[in-house]
């Protein structure tokens, strides 16, 4: 370690050390650079309303990315979050008329937790690859949702007022969804750093066999983790319902891959053991600003997707290069 630090001297080495020890710094620099570029392209666009709007759309993405961050820390991934979130949004919207807002929201959170538990059983007990397991449960969940949709087609759907207030409302120019997000983010960040559960996630991701030999019941940790991931996805779905206000079967599905991208850009290793939620939050903000930028430049849809993919690739490649030699 010492010799390595000596070898990588000079400006490049110093930069590398900064990036390695404070991974948030380059991400925030990148975010700032994007905002500046946006302001240059369209002077006057960066104002209070724009910032509030950006945060409003970045929050649900960051919450979905929380599921990815947590599961990636153990070397997993959760691709069923799209389905879990859509199911909860759909159930909440359709049960509102019969159960009232509180009941509908509570009932809506049950299916995503069940999906999460199923994932946890498959990954933790049966040792199925998380990618496959969560794709499979996502598929089953989508099927169930389509069948459920048939049965409630008559009852219609509506958005609980509290969710609309939370999803789209502003109080003094500040999005209300921060009320939900800030506590959640604090719990996740502190939880990962200070609690036993958080450290177990890193331990399992770093070396699962070592963790098991050290007395960790890894299947219990993984089961709890995926159930938690399902719960967060369910809450995100409710937030999307309040934000978009039109429940559909493809409400959250297009957001799944961006949520993986947000976690990856935020510096979480897809192989486990390394990463932080603060990085993911900045990653979600970067992706949201980027999306605005591509829209403003009036780039056709095809080119936009190409740029989106290339940016994910370039950022992660740079990240890998900078952090690898530690």
């Amino acid at each position: 370690m010492n010799t390595l630090a000596k070898q990588s001297s000079g400006i490049g080495g110093a930069l590398r050390r900064v990036v390695r020890d404070y991974p948030l710094v380059p991400l925030i620099v990148l975010l700032a650079a994007l905002v500046v570029a946006l302001e240059i392209m369209r002077p006057g666009i960066v104002n209070e309303r724009w910032i509030a709007n950006t945060i409003k759309f970045a929050i649900p993405l960051a919450m979905l990315a929380a599921c990815q961050t947590l599961t990636m820390l153990t070397g997993g991934i959760d691709l069923s979050v799209g389905t879990a979130a859509t199911v909860s949004a759909f159930v909440a919207a359709t049960q509102l008329s019969t159960l009232g807002p509180t009941g509908a929201i509570l009932v809506a959170l049950i299916p995503p937790i069940l999906i999460g538990i199923a994932n946890g059983i498959g990954v933790g007990l049966f040792r199925v690859h998380p990618l496959i397991m969560t794709l499979g449960t996502g598929l089953i969940g989508t099927g169930c949702l389509q069948v459920y949709q048939r049965t409630v087609i008559a009852s219609g759907s509506s958005v609980p007022d509290i969710l609309a207030w939370l999803g789209t409302g502003l109080t003094g120019g500040v999005p209300n969804s921060l009320l939900l997000f800030v506590p959640l983010a604090v719990v996740i960040i502190v939880g990962l750093r200070r609690t036993g559960f958080g450290r177990l996630l890193y331990a399992i991701g770093e070396n699962e066999n070592a963790a098991r030999l050290a007395g960790v019941r890894s299947w219990q940790v993984i089961l709890a983790l995926y159930a938690l991931s399902g719960l967060i996805a369910g809450i995100t779905g409710l937030l999307y319902l309040g934000l978009i206000k039109a429940p559909s079967l493809s409400l959250v599905e297009p957001r799944v891959l961006p949520s993986v991208a947000a976690a990856v850009i935020g510096g979480t290793s897809i192989f486990g053991g390394r990463g932080s939620y603060s990085g993911t939050i900045v990653g979600a903000l970067i992706l949201t600003v980027l999306a605005t930028m591509l829209t403003i430049m009036q780039i056709p849809e095809g080119t936009r997707r190409i740029l989106f993919g290339l940016i994910i690739l370039v950022v992660t490649a740079l990240y890998v290069r900078i952090t690898q030699d530690s």
């Binding site: 991934i77 199923a118 498959g122 049966f126 040792r127 199925v128 690859h129 990618l131 496959i132 397991m133 794709l135 499979g136 449960t137 996502g138 598929l139 089953i140 989508t142 099927g143 169930c144 389509q146 069948v147 048939r150 891959l257 993986v260 991208a261 990856v264 897809i270 192989f271 056709p300 849809e301 095809g302 080119t303 936009r304 997707r305 190409i306 740029l307 989106f308 993919g309 290339l310 994910i312 690739l313 992660t316 490649a317 890998v320 290069r321 690898q324």
Partner: protein, 324 residues
């Protein structure tokens, strides 16, 4: 004989399952016959090529999330080039599209090797890139296909030395599939390159120390996946007559068939036959459920459940084996 059974128990089991399903289909629908088999092979064709592409990459120890998007690129390229062109011109289009597929796969592989980013992230990014490329080539479904290309999939082939009564049971689409896959897979399996792909899938470090050019092999494996994906795209254009820039549901289906086909995720084990039989099983399950007039949405649930149960059972076997 016993050794053969032991080595191929998974494929034999899959074959038996397919046979049982066919018998079951015949029982619930006594009319099921030549035309049923033909439409089954036609619908399985695109899935089979997607699965073949995924199989190669998984054996090499990777995964390719961009297969459906590469198929879309191949499909629209073929459709745009063949639209309004002469039948002879299409003879050039087909090899060109296959080359495009090889190139796309090679780009995927090179990006993985040179960027040192995990393959799952690279192919996730390339999923967007190829989707974008397909949209740039063709904004909405359109284009056309040469008649002889379409004709490749329809009907049966008369093979000289076989009686007509037998050949009419063999759909042309199935023969096309066997010829295309066999032409690539059999030489691959017997070559040094094929062995290298299995080696880097088992353990890339051990392969490297035994003198395998790991990076070059990995790029070649992804190129081969690109080639299969291009075949899938061509078939897609041939069967619908137009090019579709929006990728189909091939990613999930290909992973499911690969796992069901006995290829372990993580690499180094399995063949092509198992996944292809698995594709036919999954398609036939779908047909059967439709014949039983089950709600098509329930079909999705059943498919997902089959996939999850299969991988869970596979996982359980692996856990048991490692404890012994």
């Amino acid at each position: 004989m016993l050794k053969f059974l032991r080595n191929h128990y998974w494929n034999i089991g899959l074959g038996a399952m397919l046979a049982l399903l066919l018998i079951f289909t015949k029982i619930i629908q006594p009319n099921y016959g030549i035309s049923g088999l033909e439409s089954l092979s036609r619908s399985a064709l695109t899935f089979a090529f997607a699965t073949a592409a995924q199989t190669v990459v998984v054996i090499a120890g990777g995964i390719d999330l961009s297969i459906a998007s590469m198929m879309a690129v191949a499909s629209v390229t073929a459709a745009v080039m063949m639209d309004g062109a002469s039948e002879q011109y299409a003879l050039l289009v087909v090899p060109f599209v296959l080359l495009v597929g090889l190139a796309m796969g090679a780009i995927n592989g090179m990006l993985i090797v040179f960027s040192r980013v995990p393959d799952i992230v690279v192919t996730l990014a390339m999923l967007f890139v190829w989707e974008g490329v397909a949209l740039m080539i063709l904004k909405a479904p359109g284009g056309g296909s040469a008649e002889w290309v379409k004709g490749l999939l329809i009907g049966q082939v008369a093979i000289g030395w076989l009686p007509d009564g037998l050949t009419q049971w063999i759909p042309k689409a199935l023969i096309l599939l066997i010829v295309c896959l066999g032409a690539v897979w059999l030489p691959f399996r017997r070559s040094r390159f094929g062995l290298s792909v299995y080696a880097i899938g088992s353990s890339s470090l051990a392969a490297f120390r035994s003198g395998v050019a790991v990076n070059r092999t990995r790029i070649a494996a992804y190129s081969m996946a690109g080639l299969f994906a291009a075949m899938g795209g061509l078939v897609l254009t041939a069967s619908t007559g137009i090019g579709a820039p929006i990728p189909g549901p091939y990613l999930l289906a290909s992973v499911a068939a690969v796992v069901l086909g006995g290829v372990t995720l993580g690499g180094g084990r399995g063949g092509l036959l198992g996944p292809i039989i698995a594709v036919f099983i999954l398609r036939l399950v779908r047909t059967d459920l439709a014949l039983l007039s089950v709600d098509p949405n329930v079909t999705t649930i059943v498919e997902g459940t089959i996939m999850v149960v299969v991988v869970m059972a596979g996982g359980l076997i692996a856990v048991r084996a490692s404890r012994k």
